[in-house]
Amino acid sequence: MSSVVSADAKATTRRGTEITAKGFRWQHAERERPAISALDVQIPAGQKVLLVGPSGAGKSTLLHALAGLLEVDESEQISGQLLIDGSDAFAREHPVGLMQQDPETQVVQSRVAEDVAFGAENLAVDPQIIRQRIPEALEAVGLGMLPMDHRTQELSGGQKQRLALAGILAMQPGLMLLDEPTANVDPEGIRPLRDAVLNAAQLSGATLIVVEHRLDAWAEHMDRVIVLEPGGGVAHDLDPQRLYDDQELRTELSQAGLWVPNYQLELTAAQTTPQEQLLEAHDLISARTASSARTQKVNLKVRAGTATVIRGENGAGKSTLALTLGGLLEPVAGELQATESLANGLGNSPFSWKAGALIARIGSVFQEPEHQFVTQSVREELAFAPLRAKASGGQELKYDAQQVDARVDSLLARLGLQHLADANPFTLSGGEKRRLSVGTVLAAAPEVLILDEPTFGQDANTWRELASLLVEQLHLGTAIIAVTHDEHLVRVLNAQEIHLSALADQAPAKTRGPVLDAPVGDSWLAKTNPLAKLGAVAAATLPLITTLDWVSALVIIVATLLVFPLAGLSPARFFKRAWPLLIAGVVAAWGIALVGQDSGEVYAQLGIFSITEGSVQGGIATGLRAFALALPCILLLVSTNPSDLGGALSQQLRVPHRFVLGALAGMRLLGLMVEEFSTLGLARRARGVGNFGTFTQRIGAKLGQCLALLVQALRRAGRLAVTMEAKGFGIGPRTWMRTATFTVKDAAVLLVGLLLGALAVGAAMMAGTYNLVWG
C-alpha cells in the first residue's frame, strides 16, 4: 500500500455501474416459492431508479443480491444472471453501497469519523486518502458541521441515515442501493435525507436504486420507476410521471399498499360526540426518570368518544407524556386524575393501579409492536389481556373464560388474522404485527386508548385498516390519545390537538444507564496508547492477587490517587465513578469479617458466626484489595475510548480485526439496549404483566423481559451484520484510518505500571505482611 496521496484522487473520473439481469431467479433455502424469477432488466450507468412493489415482491432480496450479500448454499436456488458492469454480482468485484431502514443499525462505529471511514477501511483504501474523503463525504450529506469525534449515538434517526450515506460515499461505490431509507425517519428528517441521497448520487455519478413505499418524496426526482411482481420479475417499467397521471396504475399501486404521490383519503372523518370526562391532567409534567429531561406543563381533559392528538417537535417528550397519561410513568409534578367513571372503585391516580386493573381502563399501544408481545401465538396474545383485566374495585375479573374466547374470536375476525391464530406473533409481517398490537390492547376494552405513532412506517393498506379500527372505537365511545405526525390520521380522528414544545432552558437529554464510549477528553493519559495503559494497570494490579494484605493494596491505592490528575479527573467526578466500588469493598470486607478464619480477640458473636480480630483484619485486607484492583481501572476507563483500544489490539497485538470490530459494533448498542430494556418493562406492564405479584411471578416477568430484550438484540444483530458486510467488512485485509502508535512515553507508562506492581509486593514483603495466597 502506498502512502503517497495522489493529487488527482479527488478528480478521478468516477461513474456509475451498469446493471443487467437476464432471467434472474432466486429462491430462499427454506421457501417454497422463488422471491424473484424471470427478472429481465437493464439499468444504464448513473440512472436513478425507484423500485416499488407490494410486500413480498422481492425488492429487498434484489437489493441484497446486487450488494452480493445473499448466501448461496445450494446451487439450484439460483439461475440466470445478475451482472454489475458485466461481472457477476455475487463475486463482489465492485463496491456497492447499501442502506436499510433501521437507522440504529446503519451506523457501525461510535464516533462520526470512524463510522464514515469504516467501509473504505474495509476496502483497504490508503488511510491518508480516507482522511481526505471523510470531510468531503460529511459535507455532501449535510453533516459537515459535526466534530469528527462526535458520538454517533447522539444523532437523530435522519442524521444517522445521512451518516451511513457518508460512509457509503467514502467507499466511492458505482452503485448505491437504498432499502426504504426514510421508513423509520421522522417527517422533518425525510427531506434532508432525500436531498442528501440525491446530492450524493449527483456528486458520485453512481447508479441509484431506491426502494420506498412512500413515493411523494422521490417520484419527481427519479429517472425511472420499476414495479416488481410478487414472486416474479418486472410488472411495470415506466416514467415517474405516470405515477401522477395514470389513474389505473395509481389504483393498482395503492391497492398494493403503496402511498402514491398526492394520495387522496377515502375515509370520512369520525363523528365525535363528547361524552363523560375520563382523565384530567393539571399542570402535568412528565419525565422518563428523575434525572432525564422533563416535558412542559400540560393541561388536558380527555372525554369518552373523542380523540386527542399530541404533536410537537422531537425531544419535546411526546412519548413520555403518552406513557404518563397511560399510567405507566409517575407524574414528576402536577396531577393526572382519573374520574370516578374511569377509576371505577380504584384510587384516582392511574400509576397506582395494578397492571390488571390498568389494562381494563387505559390501554397503551407502543410504537414497536414487538415490545408488547408476551406469548407464543396470536390467539394467546389476544386472550392475554382479557384474562387478566380486573373490573370494578380492581379485584374481580372483568371477563369469564367464555367471554374471553368470544372476544378473541371476534377480534381475530375483525383484524383479519384468523388464518394466523396459531402463528408466533414475532413471525408476522410488519402490518400484521401492528394490527395485532392494537388488537391485544383493545381486547381488554379499555375506555382510554393511547397510541404512540400508530401509523409510522405503515403501508397504505395497514393505514386504512388502522384508521377504520380507530374510528370504530371512537364511535363506540372510547377516548383515543395519539402521538402522531400523521396529518391524515389527525383529520380522520377529528381530533383536538395539543402541542408540546421542548423546554429551551433544559440541558440536552442525558443518556440513561451505562455509557461505554463517553468522550475521554484530551488529558495526558487520554493521549497515551491504550495498550500501554492496559498493560500498566494489569502489571500494577494483578500481583495483588497473589497476596492478601493491606500494605500492597494501600500502595496501589495511593499511587493511583496520585496519578489521577494526569487523567484530568476532578475529585467529584472520581467519587461519582468510584462510590459503587467503595461500597463493594465494604461489603466484601464485611463478608470476610463474618465468615473469615477466626483468631485472636472475639469482638462479637452473631449466631454461628464470630467476628474476631483475625477475621476483621482479613476483612479489611479483602476490602482494600478489592478497591486496589478496581481503582486503577477507573483511570483506564475515563481516559480510553473502546474504539482506540480495539484499534490498538488489532493493529499492534494482531487480534483478528473481525472480532475486535464486531465486538465494538455490538458495544455501541449498549446504551440503546439499556433504553430498550426499560421500555420493555413499561410495554409489558401495559399488557398486564405486573411488577407486583408473588416472588415467582416477578421472577417470571423479569425473565420474560430479558428474553424480549434478546429477541430485539438478535434482530438488531442481523441487520447490523448486513450493514457491515455491505460495507465490505471481513472480506480481506483492511486499513485503519487511526493508526495506533507506540512511543517512548507509552513505554514509560508501561514501565511505571510494572514498577508499581513490584513496589507493592516489595513493600508488603518489607513490612512482613505479604502472604502468598496459595501457600
Partner: protein, 206 residues
C-alpha cells in the same frame, strides 16, 4: 463455492460474530439491570455472604447461550470474555481480574461443547456446560484467584458446589430454554440454531 460451504460449517461468518457480540452486550445490560435492581438479594446475602455464590450463574449464561445460538467453536469463550470486558468497562469492583474470570468461566463451557465436537446442542450438553462453567468459576475464585482466601476449607467447598449448581440451572437450563424460545420467534433465522425449537431434548421441558 465449495470453499464457501466448507467455511460456513466451521468458520465464523460476519453474522455469527455480530450476533455473538450483541448477545454479550445484551448480557451486559442484563447484568447491569440485575445489579441495579436486585438490592434486596444482596441484602439477603449480607447475612451470609457465601450464599451469593448461588447467583453466580447469572454471570455465566452468556457462555452457554452464545454457544447454543452460534454453534461455532469458540462461541462460549468469546461471548463470556466479551461480557466480562463490558462488565469491566462499566466499572467492576473486580478490576481487570474479571477478564481472567471471564476466560475461565467461558473455558469451562467451551470444553464441554468441544468434548462433543460441536455437534450436540441438546439439554444434557447444555446443563453440563453450565455446570462446568460454574465449577470452573468456583474453583478459580476459591483456590486460584483466591478471592476467598479467608474462607475456611469447608466454606470454599461450599462455594464451589454453589457456583456449580447455579451454573447448571441459570446458565445451563435457562440458556437452553431461552434458545428454544428465541428460535420460535424467528430471531435466529440467519443462524445455525434457527431450528432449535424443533429439536428434541432428552428432558424436553414442556
Amino acid at each position: 463455492m465449495n470453499q464457501a460451504v466448507a467455511k460456513q460449517r466451521t468458520g465464523w461468518r460476519v453474522v455469527d460474530i455480530v450476533t455473538a457480540s450483541v448477545i454479550a452486550v445484551a448480557s451486559g445490560v442484563i447484568f447491569w439491570a440485575w445489579s441495579a435492581g436486585y438490592g434486596l438479594f444482596s441484602l439477603a446475602f449480607v447475612a451470609f455472604p457465601p450464599a451469593s455464590a448461588l447467583l453466580t450463574g447469572v454471570w455465566l449464561f452468556p457462555a452457554v447461550l452464545g454457544a447454543l445460538i452460534i454453534r461455532k467453536p469458540g462461541a462460549a469463550l468469546y461471548c463470556e470474555m466479551l461480557a466480562a470486558v463490558i462488565e469491566a468497562l462499566l466499572g467492576s469492583h473486580y478490576g481487570l481480574t474479571v477478564l481472567i474470570s471471564g476466560f475461565v468461566q467461558g473455558l469451562g463451557a467451551e470444553l464441554v461443547f468441544a468434548a462433543v465436537r460441536y455437534r450436540k446442542w441438546n439439554l444434557s450438553v447444555s446443563l453440563l456446560a453450565g455446570l462446568f462453567s460454574g465449577l470452573f468459576a468456583g474453583i478459580s475464585e476459591a483456590y486460584i484467584m483466591a478471592y476467598y482466601v479467608e474462607y475456611t476449607p469447608a466454606l470454599k467447598i461450599f462455594h464451589v458446589i454453589a457456583t456449580g449448581i447455579s451454573g447448571l440451572i441459570v446458565a445451563g437450563l435457562l440458556s437452553w430454554l431461552a434458545t428454544r424460545g428465541l428460535a420460535k420467534t424467528g430471531a435466529l433465522s440467519a443462524l445455525a440454531s434457527r431450528r432449535a425449537h424443533l429439536e428434541t431434548g432428552k428432558l424436553a421441558a414442556k
